[in-house]
């Protein structure tokens, strides 16, 4: 049994091809040397704001906290021309509270589900959680994959579970969290990306991490997943979207991620239907940089409302 399972993983790795860690890190280091100035910087900062999934995922979340998060999502700053963010991202129990504030607006409600962040609950429970979140008004579901099963080589189980969640989503968009830090190697990240992409729908996302482990989105794992999305698109014509999450706190970082998108997937992925940032403190840094571009001076941190925690 175990022998057969481990061969499954080998076979998948062989099929999708290996990733060289040194090479990928060298590639992404070049993104950091790009120098984005003036209008191109303004464009990137605005675009990044529209891509933010403004997130609060804490045990101490309350309807009040979610209300202020929603307010921030709808009106990030009172300066002119500041766009709204893509979505708010909350725990399932908070979906109905968020719905009161953002339903009927362009800001969408994303809910983590499937026993986030570990995924260690019976499948039945996880699916029920997804259905409840959708019923409460979630437009998007952020699920976690079964990392244990993946590392065990039970790939079919991982894939079947994702397929089951797709079904439970109904019309909601699905984001599949690979939790890259637990998969550890770039080879695994690439393999898991394909595993997910083969059962999700066009426009669904693959997502790096929960933000609940020591290491989250990096340019490296972002690149591996973008490469996988490109290969899948060229082979099947299916456009899968991407969401790096956790650890992206500065505008400078966000721009480097966007450069990776521009140079790997091109113009069709430079919008919030195809690319998102799972972040919270990032938003205020983006606003701060936008204000700097507009006024020519850095504004004090307290001039931007703090309505989201650190993520």
């Amino acid at each position: 049994m175990i022998a057969r399972s481990s061969r499954n993983l080998c076979r998948l790795l062989e099929e999708v091809g290996p990733v060289d860690a040194v090479g990928i890190e060298e590639r992404v280091a070049k993104y950091a040397t790009r120098s984005i100035k003036k209008d191109s910087k303004l464009f990137a900062l605005r675009l990044a704001v529209t891509m933010v999934d403004l997130t609060t995922l804490e045990g101490k979340d309350t309807p009040g906290k979610v209300a202020s998060l929603c307010r921030k999502a709808l009106c990030p700053h009172d300066a002119p021309d500041i766009p709204q963010v893509a979505a708010v991202c909350v725990y399932p129990s908070m979906v109905k509270h968020a719905a009161r504030h953002v339903k009927g607006t362009p800001v969408r409600i994303a809910s983590v589900a499937t026993a986030f962040p570990s995924g260690q609950a019976p499948l039945k429970t996880r699916l029920a959680e997804v259905r409840q979140a959708v019923a409460d008004g979630a437009d998007e579901i952020d699920m976690v994959i079964n990392r244990g099963a993946f590392l065990e080589g039970e790939l079919a189980r991982v894939q079947d579970e994702i397929a089951a969640v797709v079904e439970a989503c109904g019309d909601a968009i699905l984001k599949v969290i690979l939790e890259t830090s637990e998969l550890e190697t770039y080879d695994h990240i690439r393999a898991a990306s394909f595993l997910a992409m083969r059962v999700i729908r066009p426009g669904d996302f693959i997502k790096t991490s929960t933000g609940k482990t020591s290491s989250n989105a990096t340019l490296g794992n972002n690149q591996v997943m973008l490469d996988a999305i490109r290969d899948h698109f060229l082979a099947t014509g299916v456009e899968i979207a991407m969401k790096p999450a956790g650890g992206i706190r500065t505008a400078k970082q966000a721009i480097q991620f966007l450069i990776a998108v521009k140079e790997t997937l091109g113009d069709h992925w430079l919008n919030n239907r195809r690319y998102r940032f799972g972040a919270s403190s990032l938003l205020n840094d983006l606003l701060r940089q936008l204000e700097t571009q507009r006024t020519g001076a850095y504004q004090a941190p307290w001039t931007f409302s703090e309505d989201s925690g650190a993520y």
Partner: protein, 494 residues
């Protein structure tokens, strides 16, 4: 959400690298501090050439005059050798520890002024500022640091023996890495107690002359390093001077031959680092995206003006179509243009002469039936530029598969078995470097032992380190630079 079919998509299943998000120009603004005119650096002083002649140094970035460079004649070169021979008496007796201090000082001064030197290097040679800033300058400083460390440890290079300096070293360097090649030459020569007469390439003398000011600031005794500028005749005077104990040359195989012939009846030592036509070999199990990145780095680094450039891509037949498709997608996002722009990946071709040579060879490739692929990119109107170029369906007998192009031009050949890959890779008069891409460790070791090349890179390309010896087989020259091997080429074992 269902996928929306966008009407603007050019064709099914191709990515669109369009103009949705254009980068604004981001020119490096640090001043390069380039003088209007440079003399010769002889005996610790900037002196006017006895020839009284100067020639223009052209910036390939815009084709405009950058500075005036002195043209040294035989009398100037003789003065430089006399100064070097005089300085050798005391420099060679100086304890290694003291020589090391000068080298450390030079390395630190280079670091202090690295931004200024990077801009000057880019203006003078045309390489992207990203490369001169992130590669040339740090590597040049690293070579001085590394050899500074050796200066007081020469008694430990070979067990039970010590190293003695040779005397005055005549050094002639090329235009592709002007400052870095200068560092490769000067650092080991000084560490081992020799003195130097160095001639930079005529199209790229500016950073060498700027470097003279670093030597002055470092307080290096007069005459230890002398820099004479000029073209072929000056080079011949440096090579043929009777006071030279050794000649170190980096440049074309053609000139290397002339030098070796000229030295045939003398007791001068010689090291040559000449051309190359490196094979970059990609096996079907290789990590494809990283291999493509390595191929790009191997051939488009410094506009392909690299003697160890991976200009012959050998791809296993089963993945040839796939690699070509990925490569085309990758070069579509390379940014060609003003080398001073921080976002430029491929800068200007070093000289008009070189541009013409590249154009001729590319035309020969087209004429001989290879298939050419170039991305749609706008090139600046003035200056010397050439787009990144890939040839597929190349055969061994075509010129582009044999001759060193020294430009951003890649030839793709295919192979079926490892044996065939080795045969094709070694089927060249050159033997400077090679690359192997495979996920299989044992295959890397097998290939490395069978490839006749001075450097074999595995799953990477164009990686350098001062401690790693560099040099070639066959018509790529002899002698090594860097590492312990490099030191031995600048000293005699006692």
């Amino acid at each position: 959400m269902p996928a929306k079919k966008s009407p603007s998509r050019p064709s099914a299943r191709e990515l669109l690298f369009g103009d949705l998000w254009e980068f604004d120009p981001a020119p490096e603004s640090a001043p390069a501090s380039i003088d209007d005119r440079y003399g010769l650096f002889i005996g610790g002083k900037m002196v006017a050439p006895k020839s009284k002649k100067y020639f223009d140094s052209i910036s390939p970035r815009d084709g405009k005059k950058l500075s005036e460079i002195a043209q040294a004649n035989a009398a100037d070169v003789d003065a430089a050798y006399q100064a070097a021979a005089h300085a050798f008496k005391s420099w060679s007796k100086l304890p290694g520890k003291e020589r090391g201090k000068y080298l450390f000082r030079i390395a630190r001064l280079l670091q202090d002024r690295s931004r200024e030197f990077a801009v000057a290097e880019t203006l003078d040679g045309g390489k992207p500022i990203r490369e001169s800033r992130d590669f040339d300058l740090p590597m040049a400083a690293a070579h001085f640091f590394y050899h500074a460390g050796w200066a007081d440890k020469l008694d430990y290079v070979a067990p039970g023996r010590s190293l003695a300096p040779l005397g005055v070293i005549g050094q002639v360097i090329p235009w592709n890495f002007p400052l870095l090649m200068l560092a490769w030459k000067i650092a080991p020569a000084l560490a081992t107690g020799n003195t130097v007469v160095l001639k930079p390439a005529e199209t790229t003398s500016v950073t060498a002359m700027k470097f003279a000011s670093i030597l002055t600031d470092a307080g290096l005794p007069p005459g230890v390093v002398n820099i004479v500028t000029g073209a072929g005749e000056t080079g011949a005077a440096v090579v043929n001077h009777p006071l030279a104990a050794k000649i170190a040359f980096t440049g074309s195989t053609e000139v290397g031959r002339i030098i070796q012939r000229a030295l045939a009846t003398t007791d001068k030592r010689l090291t040559l680092e000449l051309g190359g036509k490196a094979a970059n070999i990609v096996f079907e199990d290789a990590p494809l995206d990283q291999a493509v990145e390595g191929i790009v780095n191997g051939i488009f680094f410094n506009q392909g003006h690299v003697c160890c450039a991976g200009s012959r891509l050998l791809v296993q037949e089963s993945i040839a179509t796939e690699i070509l498709a990925r490569l085309k997608r990758r070069i579509a996002v390379l940014r060609v243009g003003d080398p001073l722009d921080k976002n430029t990946d491929i800068g200007a071709i070093n000289s008009k002469e070189q541009l013409t040579r590249i154009q001729q060879l590319v035309q020969s490739g087209v004429d001989e039936g290879a298939e050419i692929h170039q991305p749609a990119c706008k090139l600046p109107k003035s200056g010397f530029y050439f787009p990144p170029t890939v040839f597929s369906n190349v055969t061994q007998s075509q010129r582009i598969a044999n001759e060193e192009i020294f430009g951003p031009v890649l030839s793709i050949l295919t192979f079926r078995t490892p044996e065939e890959a080795i045969e094709k890779a070694n089927n060249t008069p050159y033997g400077l470097s090679a690359g192997v891409w495979t996920d299989k460790g044992s295959r890397i070791l097998m290939m490395a032992s069978k490839l006749k090349a001075g450097v074999v890179w595995a799953n990477t390309y164009n990686k350098f380190d001062p401690s790693s010896p560099f040099g070639g087989y066959k018509e790529s020259g002899f002698g090594r630079e860097g590492g312990k091997h490099g030191l031995l080429d600048y000293a005699s074992l006692q």
